[in-house]
């Protein structure tokens, strides 16, 4: 019974916070709500005994990406931003489409039959400790995607420099 209660809290928190992120007019408030959201998602991961993923979630998402967002927000002159209206003119259309999509997806997901059980039973993970299991897999079975991920990060760096560097030094 405890787990349902626990899940209920987390789920409702996540939904409310994401709604707040999306609807607040002041971008800084949105970032703050997002921070709280990430914490709750990390909590959920813990609940699903994916400790390492939760840790990464906090470090990468909350730590790195949100900080990046804050830097960008500094560029904006907030006062002018508050006065302007938040949503585009045709926002009811957007709402309608999203709710329709939600209804369809929910109807499909409700009758969901999960696939075959894999080898990594929860006890095995607890006994192996989650990070070790994840690490071993990353470096054996999923070495290839791991390398590609590194390349993706490389491209991100090059791209960021090329686009955002202040002084162009072209010949």
């Amino acid at each position: 019974m405890l787990s349902e209660l626990f899940f209920g809290y987390y789920a409702s928190a996540i939904v409310i916070f994401s709604l707040l992120v999306v609807t607040r007019s002041n971008p800084v408030h949105s970032v703050m709500w997002m921070l709280l959201l990430f914490f709750h998602i990390a909590g959920l991961y813990l609940f699903l005994n994916a400790e390492f993923v939760a840790a990464i979630q906090i470090i990468v998402y909350a730590g790195a990406i949100l900080v990046l967002f804050l830097f960008i927000l500094l560029f904006l002159n907030l006062r002018e931003e508050l006065k302007v209206k938040r949503f585009i003119g045709a926002w009811p259309a957007g709402l309608f489409v999203t709710t329709a999509l939600l209804v369809i997806v929910l109807s499909v997901v409700r009758s969901f039959v999960p696939g075959p059980a894999g080898k990594y039973s929860i006890e095995f993970i607890k006994q192996e400790t989650h990070t070790k299991a994840l690490g071993k897999l990353l470096y054996t079975d999923y070495l290839f995607p791991f390398e590609i991920a590194s390349l993706v990060l490389l491209v991100a760096i090059i791209g960021a420099i090329v686009l955002a560097k202040r002084k162009t030094r072209s010949k």
Binding site: A11, S18, Y45, L48, A50, I88, G94, V109, R110
Partner: protein, 100 residues
């Protein structure tokens, strides 16, 4: 025991909120955050699947998604800066130089 469907419903709701944010908010940065929401929604369902299917594949993909999200954030914000430098606006509906 919390059934798997609840998780899926949660991720679907978060996903749709992200889509709603993306479709309706004028400020690009908020649109950007909505995309992060989408990715998080997918992560939730992935981790939930990997938990119920007792298989690590979901979590691994979640990790990769987070790395890609980080890379995307870097590039996205670089583009926003480049755009901001030229056009001094951060609203999507003012960016309609090209149409027709």
């Amino acid at each position: 025991m919390v059934p798997l469907n609840w998780y899926l419903m949660l991720s679907a709701v978060v996903f749709m909120i992200g889509v709603f944010g993306f479709l309706t908010r004028r400020n690009i940065i908020i649109m950007f955050m909505s995309i992060e929401l989408l990715l998080n929604a997918v992560n939730i369902s992935l981790v939930a699947f990997s938990h119920y299917l007792q298989d690590m594949r979901g979590q691994i993909l979640a990790v990769f998604i987070i790395t890609v999200a980080a890379a995307e954030a870097a590039i996205g914000l670089a583009i926003i800066i480049a755009l901001f430098r030229n056009k001094d606006t951060v609203h999507a509906d003012e960016m309609s130089e090209m149409k027709g």
